[in-house]
Structure formats: C-alpha cells, structure tokens
C-alpha cells in the first residue's frame, strides 16, 4: 500500500518537471538536452544510486540477522 502511495506521489512530482528552457543570452545546455544525451547521464546516476541503495539494504538485512542471533544467545 505504501509503495503504491509513493509511486503516485512520485508521478505527481514528475508533472512539475518542465523541459522548456528560457534563454536570455546566457549559454545553457539546451542543445545537449534536445539531442537527448542528458538522459544517459540521468540513467547512469540512477543506476549508481539505486545500486548503492540495494547495497545498503543488504547490509541492513545482514545486521538484522546478526541481531537476531545475538538476541537468541542471551
């Protein structure tokens, strides 16, 4: 249930994101964005970050198991 709720919140946030760029003489990376290559950077960052989170999660689980063992010994 919580996950579905989170998913709805996330998708709502995505609507806030607009892709338009105003240009008032300051050089911005609009060209890069329109060619679509910024998505590569986004995906690379997401892979690294999600991998990092999964790694943290497995450490969390292992510590949880050790804690259970510790409790049983006492």
């Amino acid at each position: 249930m919580k996950k579905i709720f989170l998913l709805i919140i996330m998708s709502c946030f995505n609507f806030l994101v607009t892709f338009a760029q105003s240009n008032n003489g300051v050089e911005m990376a609009t060209g890069l964005r329109s060619s679509g290559k910024i998505y590569v950077v986004v995906i690379v960052l997401l892979i690294i970050f999600i991998g990092f989170i999964i790694y943290l999660f497995t450490i969390d689980r292992r510590i949880g198991k050790l804690e259970n063992k510790d409790k049983n010994i006492k």
């Binding site: 919580k2 806030l16 607009t18 892709f19 240009n23 990376a29 986004v42 943290l56 969390d60």
Partner: protein, 222 residues
C-alpha cells in the same frame, strides 16, 4: 520488515531529485550556467552533516545524563557519518568553486570556517581514540561534543555573514530568499535536503547497530 519505509522514502526522494534536478527547469544565470544544478547535491550534503552533528550533540547530552553506552554509540556514529557528508560537501564544493569562482579554494570566510569546523570534529574522533577507559572516553568526548556543536554553528552560519562571502546568503543577513532560486528549483532542492538527511540517518543506524553488536560480543566474550 520493521520500519523500512523511511529508508525507502529517503531513497525515492533522492531518485526524484536526480531526475528532476538534471532535467528540470533552471534559471539561465551568467557564470553559473548549468552548474547551478550542483546546488541540489552540494548543499544537501551540508544539511545532512548538520543533522548528523545535531543528533550527535543531543545523544551526547543524553549520555551525560544516563551513562548508557548506547547513547554514546549513537553520538560517535553520527559524527562519523557527518564527517563523510562534510568530506563530500567540501570536495563537491571545491569542484564547483573551481569552475565558477576560478579557484578550488578561494579565500572565502565560509570555506575557511568550514575547514576549521571539520578539523574540530576530526579532533573529536582523535580524542575518542586516544582514551582507553570506556566511561572516561564517553564522558570526555560527550563534553567536547557539546562545546564543539555551538562553535560549529557560529563558524558556519554566523561568522561568514559578518563579512563578505562568495556564497549566496552571506554578507548581510538575507535568509533563503537571498538565493537565486526559482519556484521550481525549490521543489527539487528542499526534497533533496530531506532525502539526504534520511539516507544519512539510515547509514548512521547501520553503523550504530554494528557497534552495538561488537559491544555485545565483547561483553559475552564470544
């Protein structure tokens, strides 16, 4: 699966800020250009560090009252995680400063005082490691921590405001309104701060649980 929800909430928020932070709309400002997006990642490091140091000082005070080793463990692990966020903040800031201010370490009051604050917390770790007796170590480092926290706040948030600084929001006394942040940027920046704070707390609890387990195994002798 006890209380995993806030860990995933933190992860989801940071994932959102990576997507929205890189693809979202930012104002076109001179000098900064696209590097303005660094604010979504550099500044939350410092806020996460602040929360870690705050948790640390709260548990140090608690330890002085209770004498429970668990409170001391939370205090020390919060500082350990805070130092990591401090390091990330310094490194990302140096990279950003190099392209916008032309020097990785310009003679800026906020940079120098953040360096002093970092050294102060490194000294906390050194102080702990130099004391062998458990209770003495806990008490002395807790007292040190109680003094270090307000000095860190003054160094980072009061002294840079008294002089001119390259950092926005310093020199004079503007609040957050002094930043060149548009409405849509705030909707990425503020969640980013919260998300990294939650991730920091997660790592801190992991380290705390490991330390507690180590303590128990030392106690039972197996």
């Amino acid at each position: 699966m006890k209380s995993y929800w806030w860990k995933f909430l933190g992860a989801a928020i940071v994932i959102y800020t990576i997507i929205a932070g890189l693809l979202g709309e930012v104002p076109a400002l001179p000098i900064l250009h696209e590097s303005i997006r660094t604010v979504y990642f550099h500044v939350p490091m410092w806020f996460a560090m602040l929360l870690m140091y705050l948790i640390s000082v709260v548990y140090s005070i608690k330890y002085l009252g209770s004498g429970k080793p668990e409170d001391d463990f939370i205090a020390v692990e919060s500082v350990n995680v805070g130092l990591i966020f401090c390091l990330f903040g310094l490194l990302s800031g140096m990279l950003w400063a190099n392209i916008t201010w032309g020097d990785p370490w310009p003679n800026d009051p906020k940079l120098n005082s953040s360096a002093i604050a970092s050294l102060m917390y490194l000294a906390y770790v050194v102080l702990r490691n130099s004391l062998d007796e458990e209770q003495k170590r806990g008490k002395i480092s807790a007292i040190y921590n109680v003094f270090a926290f307000p000095i860190m706040i003054v160094l980072l948030f009061v002294l840079p405001r008294l002089t001119d600084s390259l950092h926005p929001g310093n020199g004079g006394n503007p609040g957050f309104s002094g930043y060149d942040m548009t409405g849509s940027m705030k909707w990425v920046f503020r969640p980013a701060v919260l998300g990294w704070m939650l991730i920091g707390c997660w790592i801190m609890t992991l380290r705390y649980r490991i330390r507690k387990l180590e303590y128990h195994t030392d106690e039972t002798g197996n």
